[in-house]
C-alpha cells in the first residue's frame, strides 16, 4: 500500500530583510509521509528553525506552497491556522517551553481545554498519561517555573502530545537533556510513530538521535542537500 503524504512543501523560499536582504530558505521542496519519524539536521544557521516555523503555520511570510493533509495551508486566515495548530500540530520549541504560573499538569491540559473535545476530567486523565509517558508524572502539580530545564522540556513534549495531533514538530527537543532522558524521548517518538501512527519532524544536533529516525533531511545554506 502506497504511503500517504501528510505534509508537503513546494518551492518554499524565505527572505529576511534586516539587517540586509538574505535568502534563508531556497526553493525547499519535500514530502513527509504519514507515521514517519523525520529528523532535520544541518549546521547552525542553515535554516532548520526557519523552515520549521513555516511548517508550523505560524510563519506565513514566504514564497512557495505548504500542504498539510490534502489541504493547502498557504494563504489561509490566521484564526483558521490557529485552529489547525490546535488540532493537528503539536510543538516543542527551542528554549521556550511553559507558562510559568501554571502547574505542569495545567500546562499540558491547556491546548486540550482550548480544543474542547473532551471533558475537564478526561483531559486531566490524558494529561497524567502523557506525563507518565515522559517519566515526569510525579512533577504534575508543581508550578512549571519550579522545574529544571530538562524537566520543562519533557512537559512541553507531553503538551505537544495532548491533542493527539497528526504531526509533532520539535526544535532540538533533546537539547537540554542528559543521555538517559534523551533515550526516553527517542523511545517515545519511535513508539508514537510506529504504534500510534503520529508523524514526527524533529530538528536535532544529535547524530545518534538522527540515526534512530526513519529519514534524515540535511540542510545547508537554506537548501536541502541530503534527503535519505
Amino acid at each position: 500500500m502506497e504511503k500517504q503524504v501528510i505534509l508537503k512543501t513546494s518551492h518554499i523560499s524565505k527572505y529576511f530583510y534586516e539587517p540586509v536582504k538574505f535568502k534563508a530558505l531556497d526553493e525547499v521542496s519535500f514530502e513527509v509521509f504519514d507515521s514517519e519519524f523525520i529528523t532535520l539536521i544541518g549546521k547552525s544557521g542553515s535554516g532548520k528553525s526557519t523552515l520549521l516555523y513555516i511548517l508550523s503555520t505560524m510563519d506565513t511570510d514566504y514564497e512557495g506552497e505548504l500542504f498539510i493533509g490534502n489541504e493547502k495551508i498557504t494563504g489561509q486566515k490566521p484564526n483558521y491556522l490557529a485552529a489547525i495548530r490546535n488540532k493537528n500540530i503539536g510543538f516543542v520549541f527551542q528554549f521556550h517551553y511553559l507558562l510559568p504560573e501554571f502547574s505542569c499538569l495545567k500546562n499540558v491540559m491547556i491546548p486540550a481545554l482550548k480544543l474542547g473535545k473532551y471533558s475537564h476530567q478526561e483531559i486531566e486523565e490524558q494529561a497524567y498519561q502523557k506525563l507518565e509517558l515522559l517519566g515526569i508524572r510525579d512533577q504534575a502539580l508543581k508550578p512549571a517555573s519550579k522545574l529544571s530545564g530538562g524537566q520543562q522540556q519533557r512537559v512541553a513534549i507531553a503538551r505537544a502530545l495532548i491533542n493527539q495531533p497528526k504531526i509533532i514538530m520539535c526544535d532540538e527537543p533533546t537539547g537540554n537533556l542528559d543521555s538517559k532522558n534523551t533515550g526516553i524521548v527517542l523511545e517515545t517518538f519511535q513508539q508514537l510513530s510506529s504504534e500510534f501512527g503520529q508523524t514526527i519532524i524533529a530538528v536535532t544536533h544529535d547524530n545518534d538521535f538522527a540515526k534512530a529516525s526513519n529519514r534524515i533531511i540535511e540542510m545547508a545554506d537554506g537548501k536541502i542537500i541530503h534527503n535519505l
Binding site: 490546535n86 528554549f95 521556550h96 491547556i110 481545554l113
Partner: protein
Amino acid sequence: MKLNVNSEIAYTHLITRKKQTMIAALGVTVGIGIFIFMISLVVGFNRYSDESLFKAASHLRIYQDDILSKPLIAENKMGYTAVIVNPKIANVSNTLINPEKIISDLKKQEDIVTIAPQVSVNLFYNNGTSQINGVASGVNIVEANAMFNIQSTMLAGDVRNLLATPNGILIGVGIAEKLNLQLYDNINITSSIGVVKVMKVEGIFKTSNSNIDLTKSYISLAMSQQLLHQSSSYVTDILVNIKDPNKAPEYAKLLKNLTIYKVEDWQTANEQSMSNKKTRQVMFGSISLAILLVAAFGIYNIINMTIKEKLNDIAILKATGFSGKDVINIFLKESLIMGIIGTSFGLLMAAGLIKFVSGIYIGGDREYFPIGFEPQIFLIGAILGVLITLGAGYIPAVGAAKIDPIEIFRR
C-alpha cells in the same frame, strides 16, 4: 462548573499578581467613588436650589405682557418712516380676560398638577410710623400652598386660617421683625391705588431668601381684588405646576397655542440660577470625568505591563492554537474583573461618602447638606466604571493579539 480556559488563564494572571490587580482596582474604586459622589453633590444641590426656587416660583406663569405701542405705519414699509419714534407701554390693564376659560382649558391638559390664579398687589405695610413697601399675592391659599408648600415655611400660624379670616394676611419674617409684629397683631396696608385695609397677621413665614421675607405677603384673592378696586374676575397671573419641572419650556410652547397671553417657564424666568446650575454641572462633571480617566489609565498601564511581561506566554498560547480573538478575550477578562471589583468598591465608597456628608449640619432651612442617594447616578457610575475599564483593557489587548509568536521564539 469549570471555568473556560480563557477565563482560567485570565484568573491565574490576576491572582499571581495580586498586588498590581489590587492597585488597578483601587484606582477604579477611587475614580468611581469620587465620580458618583461629585455628581450626587451636584444633583443634590441642584434639587435643593430648584426646591427653594419652587417655594417662590411656579413652573409656568401665564400673564399679560407689557405691549409696546407700535408705529402707526409699519417700519418695514418701503418709502415710509415710523411715525411714533418713542414707544411707550400701551396696555390699559394687565388683567387676563376671562381667566375661568383659560383655567378650564388648562385643566384639560395632561401633566398639569396645580393651577393657581393670582393677583399681585404692590402695597405698603404700615405699623405706626414704620412703613415698608412690598408685594402681596392674592391667592386661593389651598392652591398656593399645594404649589409652594407655604406651610412648611411657617414659623407661626397656619395657612388655613386665611380661609376663615377674610382680612387675614401671612407675612414674611422680615416684615414682622421690622414692624415689630406678632401673630394675630393688626397691620395696616395701603395698595398702590390708595385703598387702605386693616389686616390680621394669621401667619409668619421664613423662606431661604431674606429679600422675599422682607417684602412678600399672602392674602386672599378677594381681598387683593378689593385692594385694586377690581371685580372678582380680575386675575393678573395664572401659575401652573406640571409633573416634571424640566419639561416646562416644552410646555410653555404648547400652552402658547392655547392663550394669547405670555407663558413663561421657570427656566427663562430664572436665567441666572440656570446658568449657575450649568456652571456647576460642567465644572463637577469635568473634574469627575478627569478622575475617571486617571483610573482608566491605571488599568491600561497594568494590562500593558502584564502583556509586556507575558510575551512568551502569549507566543506559546498562539503556537498551541489560541487565536488573536482568544488573546483579546483573555486580557479583556482581566480588565473586566479588575473593573468589576474596583467599581463595586467604588459604589460602596460613594455610598459611604454620601452618607457621611448628608449628616453634616449646615444650618439654614435645609439644615443638613443637600445630598442623597440617587439610584440613577449609581447605575450610571457602575456602567461607566465597567465600560471605561473595558476600553482601557481593549487597547493593549488588541496589541497583544497582534504579537507574532515567531518573533518571540527567535529571540
